[in-house]
């Protein structure tokens, strides 16, 4: 959480995710997390033409974090207050995008030279974002060391 000054920031997690997704379709098209200030919609209109539609009715000045992947955009809640959870949400959205583009599960690692296990982004017991599945886990940013596909 942000109370701990030594805790990784959202930018730290994004750097690790850039590494994990670098060789995927999400890395190819690029992804971007922006802080949308409804008072300055022109700042991002060139990459999100309908940027005004992301303003919150009834709270028109509230800033929002928006994740853009290709032409798809989604909102990420509380990214400034809980960067670790936001990183998991971002990884999950990117994972869905990659699987759509590849038309198969991703990422998977081979266990015991036999079974392919598909990992999912989660918070581990210490509250750190990681890729995990069926007892296997690796930290964000280290996926390429284990990746089968």
């Amino acid at each position: 959480m942000m109370d701990d000054p030594s805790a990784p920031t959202l930018d730290d997690w994004l750097s690790l995710l850039q590494r994990d997704f670098e060789a995927t379709p999400a890395g190819s098209v690029g992804f971007q997390l922006i802080r949308f200030d409804p008072a300055n919609p022109q700042e991002y209109r060139h990459i999100i033409p309908d940027i005004e539609s992301w303003a919150i009715p009834g709270s028109p000045t509230e800033n929002r974090f928006l994740l853009r992947v290709a032409r798809n955009v989604t909102s990420i809640d509380d990214a400034d207050q809980d960067p670790a959870k936001a990183a998991v949400d971002i990884a999950s959205y990117l994972q869905d995008f990659v699987m759509d583009e590849l038309n198969r599960p991703w990422p998977s690692i081979r266990v015991n030279n036999d079974v392919d296990v598909v990992l999912e982004p989660r918070l581990d017991d210490s509250g750190a974002p990681s890729w995990a599945g069926k007892g296997m886990a690796c930290h964000f940013g280290e996926l390429d060391r284990y990746l089968t596909t």
């Binding site: 009715p57 032409r71 798809n72 909102s75 809640d77």
Partner: protein, 126 residues
């Protein structure tokens, strides 16, 4: 849940609607076919659990269509798809807890040349 769809054919060089067909259905099972155009589903296994949704169209629209979908929870836009394949997505458990009792709305279009297929689905988040 209510699912609605409408098909519009726009003649090249003109902005008149040559043909429009629309239907509305109240459904219980969370998914509904919309005549010959396709189907939409919104599923939530239980209260405060994640929601999965998707829009599927008949092959005529699937092959070369461009899809735009917008997802709103209690009137707040939470997701947007703008892609060349059928849109689908999910709403996290955190969000279903936040918006429990509120309306989830999915609306969008599939454009195939001069044809525009509009779709929308509404349901209450458990």
């Amino acid at each position: 849940m209510v699912v609605a769809c409408a098909r519009q054919h726009r003649r090249r060089g003109a902005d008149t609607k040559a043909q429009v067909a629309s239907r509305n259905h109240a459904v219980r099972d969370g998914s509904r076919s919309c005549a010959s155009h396709g189907s939409a589903y919104v599923r939530q296994a239980g209260k405060n659990l994640p929601i999965q949704w998707g829009v599927y169209v008949v092959p005529k629209y699937k092959i070369v269509s461009h899809f735009v979908a917008k997802v709103y929870a209690d009137g707040v836009k939470i997701d947007g798809k703008n892609q060349d394949y059928e849109p689908h997505g999910s709403v996290s458990a955190d969000r279903t807890r936040k918006y429990s009792g509120k309306i989830l709305e999915i609306t969008g279009t599939a454009v195939n040349g001069d044809d525009t297929l509009s779709f929308s689905a509404k349901c209450i988040i458990a």
